[in-house]
């Protein structure tokens, strides 16, 4: 079974979801990400969904889970590139994606992550 590639960029992990995932693929992404955050002690996770045309409640929950698990491992999660139609549908569905920061694109997302990570190390 194919797995979604996770890229390491400094102390952040970057994931681009480009395929229409079936449930098992989504679950394995969750596991893989958690494992990698722990392995590299990453401080940030950026998930780009600019190619995702459908985000239903299952995917929404997966994203919320990833954010929650990352937080337990002391990492921040940022979601980038949500398409307008997806945003409108999620609002209609009633999904608020708590605990997930969002940014318009990867560039902004990385800047946002650096802000969080930077703030922490400055303490």
């Amino acid at each position: 079974m194919d797995r979604i590639p996770i890229l390491k960029m400094g102390d952040c992990l970057l994931v681009t979801i480009q395929v229409d995932m079936h449930d098992e693929l989504a679950m394995s992404l969750q596991e893989d990400l958690t494992a990698q955050i722990a392995k590299y002690a990453s401080r940030g996770v950026l998930i780009d969904i600019s190619s995702l045309e459908i985000v239903d409640s299952f995917i929404g929950r997966m994203l919320a889970n990833i954010a929650a698990m990352s937080r337990v491992l002391d990492a921040q999660t940022v979601l980038t590139g949500m398409q307008p139609a997806v945003a409108i549908t999620l609002v209609e569905l009633g999904m608020s994606l708590p605990g997930i920061r969002t940014a318009l694109n990867v560039e902004r997302g990385m800047a946002l992550l650096q802000e969080f990570i930077g703030d922490d190390t400055e303490e």
Binding site: L79, T80, M82, Q83, P84, A87, I88, L90, V91, E92, S96, L97, R101, T102, A103, L104, N105, R108, G109
Partner: protein, 290 residues
């Protein structure tokens, strides 16, 4: 079966010329269709009408399928060319007198049969005319709907106030359809211009009801989900009262009474502020990174 189809066929030429001359000047529209085209259409219609009537008196039956599609075609073309719906249907109706004349000549000696044939033929022609009007009006309605859509798009302009700041000044009453279009254009604009803040200004909106408020809240929530901030400005006291009365919860939403305040907040949010130039004669403030 009715006898009129045979009679009509036998008198085709006479009927056609009578029909042509019966089309009174006002509905003839020589400016929109020339004689030979008109003649061709009339000939074709007469042929189809006669053929179909031989097997049925019901214009919705299969026998009339070819006639129906022919009439739909010419109705559409005429509406596109500029005929009115009435002029279009008069084309069909004006064949009646010529047909009745032919029937009268053929059936003079048999008044009761004449009356029955006139009735049958007349009914069919009337129904064909109604079909034509239906198509013509349907075409008009489609055009109007399309124009309404265009107007809707034009009336929801998204304005770039500064690099990264968009404003959507809404003017006039908001209905469900318009608010949907507004929502979608704002969200696409945010992506296209890579903006961080969007301000929806409702100074020009006279009333806000629960439905409209819900739509605005959804738009703002969607924008935030996508990663942009979204403020609501231009809330007049009367609207503030209505919102409280209706029990609408705006606690999660950043609101400002004035658009200028919302813009100021947007700049601050992006880490920018407006400062005066440090020159004696300076009169225009410049925006400077903080």
């Amino acid at each position: 079966m009715a006898a009129f189809p045979e009679i009509v066929r036998a008198h085709e030429t006479a009927i056609l010329s009578g029909w042509m001359s019966d089309m009174s000047a006002s509905t003839r529209r020589k400016d929109l269709i020339n004689d030979s085209d008109l003649q061709a259409q009339a000939t074709e219609l007469l042929k189809l009408f006669t053929e179909a009537s031989q097997s049925s008196g019901d214009v919705q039956s299969d026998a009339f399928a070819a006639t129906r599609s022919f009439l739909k075609e010419i109705a559409k073309t005429r509406m596109e060319t500029g005929f009115s719906a009435a002029e279009t249907s008069m084309f069909v109706l004006s064949m009646k007198q010529a047909v009745f004349n032919a029937l009268r000549d053929a059936l003079k000696s048999n008044p009761s049969e004449l009356i029955s044939e006139i009735w049958t033929a007349g009914t069919v022609i009337d129904r064909l005319a109604m079909l034509t009007v239906d198509t013509a009006v349907g075409f008009r309605e489609q055009t109007i709907a399309r124009q309404q859509e265009d107007m809707l798009e034009l009336s929801t302009p998204v304005v770039k106030l500064w690099e990264g700041v968009l404003a959507l000044p809404l003017i006039g009453t908001l209905d469900s359809a318009r608010t949907q279009v507004v929502m979608e254009s704002l969200l696409s604009a945010i992506v296209e211009t890579n903006s961080q803040v969007a301000i929806i200004d409702i100074t020009g909106v006279p009333t806000v009801d629960t439905l409209v408020a819900q739509h605005l809240i959804k738009t703002i929530t969607a924008a935030r989900l996508m990663g942009a901030d979204c403020y609501l400005s231009g809330i007049r006291p009367a609207i503030a009262q209505t919102i409280v009365h209706l029990g609408i919860d705006l606690t999660d939403i950043q609101t400002k009474a004035k658009l200028s305040d919302a813009f100021s907040l947007a700049l601050t949010r992006m880490g920018k502020s407006v400062v005066a130039l440090k020159q004696a004669a300076a009169s225009t403030p410049r925006v400077k990174e903080v």
